[in-house]
Amino acid sequence: MQKQVISMPRRINIARLKLVTITFCIGQIFAGQPAIATDETTLPDWSGVWERVEGNGGIFDPATVKPADGRAGSPGVRQFPPLTQAWEAKYQAILEVVAEGRVPDPISICGTPAGFPRLLALPDVYEFIVRPEQTWIITENGPNIMRIYTDGRDHPADDELWPTFTGDSVGSWHDKTLTFGTVSMLGEKGTILDRSGLVLSNQASITTRMFKTEEGLLRAELTIADPLALREPWNVVRHFRKTPGGTRAFDYACAENNRNPITSSGQTLTLDAEGNTIDVEIDQEH
């Protein structure tokens, strides 16, 4: 068995991220609150089926999108996270592609998860399964499953950790609030935050606080750090509302009858009922 080799800067970064998470948990313990809920009767009721509140067209950060009612993927619509100069240039280059109608959306190929944090901004419905040892976020669209361990474990050791779509999440309960840290996300190599083309690096780490508001909404407060993409932490807030009682979630099988394949240049084609391409104008690259 070969040992995984991680470059020194990467090792240092992972170690730093884990240190931040550990420091946070220790801080909460010393604050006099239990870090791990061992009694399920103390956990909040997040049962039922939920749907996102914000996000016109799946926009990830409603607080910074311009124009304010802009849809992700529409020409001229963008968000304003505190991007570094290099990543602002990267974002602008992607926005130009979006303006040509070639949205570089990985999930349109029906083969990969949306990943975190995008999975908090998807259409269709959500389920939040809360147990003392773990919380699952299940999105109908995709589907995506996010596992948040709350049994006291830490992130895996460096040689057991590699970038994945959803990353690795560990956290704890304090009163009725779930706080968790997420590291080792795939970043720009396989995920976007929304169809405006916004991306983060695989060095990003996210601390998320989730709790139910007095209005009955589920509120997720994300603090995103990324030493490559962001000049400073980026705070994003999203909400979910409960759907009417009895609502069901269903299978979502993107590959079942995908009649919109994507060309190598990003053009979305349309197929007829027999699988033949309908489009008259097709990129030369196809």
Binding site: G58, C254, T270, L271, D272, D279
Partner: protein
């Protein structure tokens, strides 16, 4: 492949465009291929209703400029979200004669993005 103007009414209806934009937001792919500034309304006969992920498709037969019948593919949202909006797997049945509104493809090819439909009994679905 162009529909005849005696069976098709081209309209530019901004409010419908806004409503459609909200719907297309949940599509699994870009909607850039559809001309969202144009609404086509046509009488059609349903050939097949594909109640499938990631999108439902209504295969309809319409009359073209030469008076010949041809098949068009009208794309809707996913069945899960449509179910919660009142659609059902049998919302459209083969042989149904309907009026249907959609955004045509930018390149004029025989497909479109669904907006709304009216059935022979006067009932409607979608944005009509």
């Amino acid at each position: 492949m162009q529909l005849t103007f005696d069976t098709v009414k081209l309209k530019t209806a901004l409010f419908l465009v806004v409503l459609l934009a909200a719907d297309l937001a949940t599509a699994h792919h870009s909607s850039a291929m559809f001309d969202k500034s144009t609404v086509v309304e046509v009488t059609a006969t349903v050939k097949e209703f594909q109640w499938t992920n990631p999108h439902v498709w209504i295969q309809v037969i319409v009359k073209n400029k030469a008076g010949e019948m041809e098949e068009w593919s009208i794309e809707g949202l996913g069945p899960n979200s449509l179910f919660r909006k009142g659609w059902r797997p049998n919302t459209f049945s083969p042989g149904d004669v309907i009026e249907i509104k959609f955004n045509p493809m930018r390149d004029g090819s025989s497909a479109g993005g669904f907006i709304g439909a009216r059935f022979s009994d006067g009932s409607t679905i979608g944005d009509w």
